[in-house]
């Protein structure tokens, strides 16, 4: 076990999860491959969505992978940062909208 939880080299070893459960891994990677193909959305558009989601879920492997992929597919730095802001806005909004729940509770119990 390494002294830290995240290791950049582990990204390239993603496929090795099949060593412990091949059938499910095969199904996942097959599904994953299908999801990112050109379809109703282009592979390029999906890459930018993945970049935003990677930030929202704060997965360093995914951020590494989709920063490269989105740039390689032609997005500019500004477009990629706007996608990160979309993730931030949704995450921030998700926190703040719970403020209504807080307000409801306070209004319920206060005199």
């Amino acid at each position: 076990m390494s002294a830290h939880y995240y290791n950049a080299d582990d990204l390239a070893k993603f496929g090795s999860i099949g060593e412990y459960q091949k059938e499910l891994a095969d199904k996942f990677f097959s599904y994953y491959g299908e999801v990112f193909k050109d379809s109703q959305l282009t592979a390029k558009e999906k890459s930018l969505i993945a970049l935003a989601v990677a930030h929202a879920v704060q997965c360093p492997y995914c951020i590494d992978a989709y920063s490269s992929d989105a740039y390689e597919k032609g997005y500019s730095e500004a477009q990629m940062m706007e996608a990160v802001h979309v993730a931030a806005a949704i995450k921030g909004g998700a926190v703040l909208v719970h403020g209504v729940q807080m307000m409801n509770k306070v209004k319920e119990i206060k005199m």
Binding site: D38, T42, A43, K44, S68, Y71, E72, K73, G74, S76
Partner: protein, 348 residues
């Protein structure tokens, strides 16, 4: 920006480049020859000569950061008319149908137009690798679109992005704007128009340490963006992988990307690309008449493996048509992913 050659940079010496590429001890990269041997494709042999690619000189009006030729205004190597005449004699005797003119900026060779006219008299199809900005560089080049049209030349031009930022970062300030103006001039004389027979093809190559994305998707996007933003039309987009040599090798080393880039090329090795790599149907001629398997081998001083036929003076079509290709680690650049050649990807 100056060429590595004028700067007397250590990478201007091709032996130093090859030492880095072949240094297995330091990088532990799998040997390209062994990779081919494992799939029964070694030695790789030419399957005839369909394309006669001539580098008419290293002089260029641009100094691109990725240039495998190390071309620029400070390069003085230029093909003479005598050497061109040797090319013409060979072409007249052979059934080679395509002549691919490259440089530097081939138009800067003072005998360029004469050479084109003479090749055309032989009934050959001519490709000119035009960097676009040369058309705007001087008044005497403004009529190049008409000259190209008159000789039914296929124009192949680099445009690494449909955005100014990426293009200028790779090819120099102002290149994007001038390229757009030049493309409009080519369109104005009929290039890129459906059914005109005047082919205008663009070349994408990555502005960074990564491989090209899907050629098909890029072509679609380029066509939409260039038409929408500038009213520009073209025929096809060729996605080309940057070879880890010369200035691009310098970029990879100085940016710390060399090992990762080589790993990318190697892990993306595609056996299906082998059959269609350009060295199998091309012979590459240098400004001084020497013969190579491709433009990249030429820039690494790797002469063809036919000791009796290494110069135009000794051109032996039969021997050269079945020659074993000289392979080094940079060859991974032509077999990665969908493969890469002067005509774009080579495998689905």
């Amino acid at each position: 920006m100056k060429s590595l050659n004028v700067l007397q940079h250590h990478l201007a010496n091709t032996q130093n480049q090859l030492a880095i590429l072949e240094d297995e001890g330091a990088h532990k990269h799998a040997s390209f020859k062994e990779k081919l041997a494992a799939i029964g494709a070694f030695p790789l042999r030419a399957a005839g000569i369909e394309i006669f690619q001539v580098n008419v000189g290293k002089m260029c009006n641009q100094v691109c950061k990725h240039c495998h030729v190390d071309a620029g205004p400070d390069r003085k190597e230029i093909m003479t008319r005598e050497t061109m005449q040797l090319c013409l004699t060979i072409l007249a005797k052979s059934d080679i149908k395509i002549v691919d003119l490259t440089g530097g900026a081939p138009e800067l060779n003072p005998d360029f137009r004469w050479f084109v006219a003479e090749i055309k008299k032989l009934g050959k199809h001519i490709i000119v690798r035009c960097n676009l900005t040369i058309i705007l560089a001087n008044k005497k080049f403004h009529d190049l679109p008409e000259f190209f049209r008159e000789h039914r030349i296929e124009v192949v031009s680099s445009l690494p992005s449909f955005t100014k930022d990426r293009t200028d970062r790779q090819r120099g300030d102002g290149v994007f704007d001038d390229s757009i103006k030049a493309l409009k001039m080519l369109n104005a004389v009929g290039y890129g128009e459906e059914d005109s027979g005047l082919f205008l093809n663009l070349v994408y190559n990555p502005a960074g340490a990564f491989l090209p994305p899907s050629q098909q998707a890029l072509e679609k996007e380029y066509k939409e963006e260039l038409l929408k933003n500038f009213g520009i039309r073209f025929n096809h987009l060729f996605a080309i992988t940057n070879m880890p040599i010369s200035r691009y090798l310098d970029y990879l080393l100085t940016s710390g990307n060399y090992d990762k880039y080589m790993e990318k090329l190697i892990s993306a090795f595609n056996p299906a690309a082998i059959n269609n790599v350009m060295c199998r149907n091309t012979i590459s001629v240098s400004w001084d008449g020497f013969l190579y398997d491709c433009d990249f081998n030429q820039m690494l001083d790797l002469l063809v493996d036919v000791p009796s036929s290494r110069h135009l003076r000794d051109f032996d079509l039969d021997l050269l048509s079945a020659r074993a290709i000289v392979l080094k680690q940079h060859c991974y650049g032509c077999t990665a992913g969908a493969g890469s050649s002067c005509g774009g990807t080579v495998a689905d």
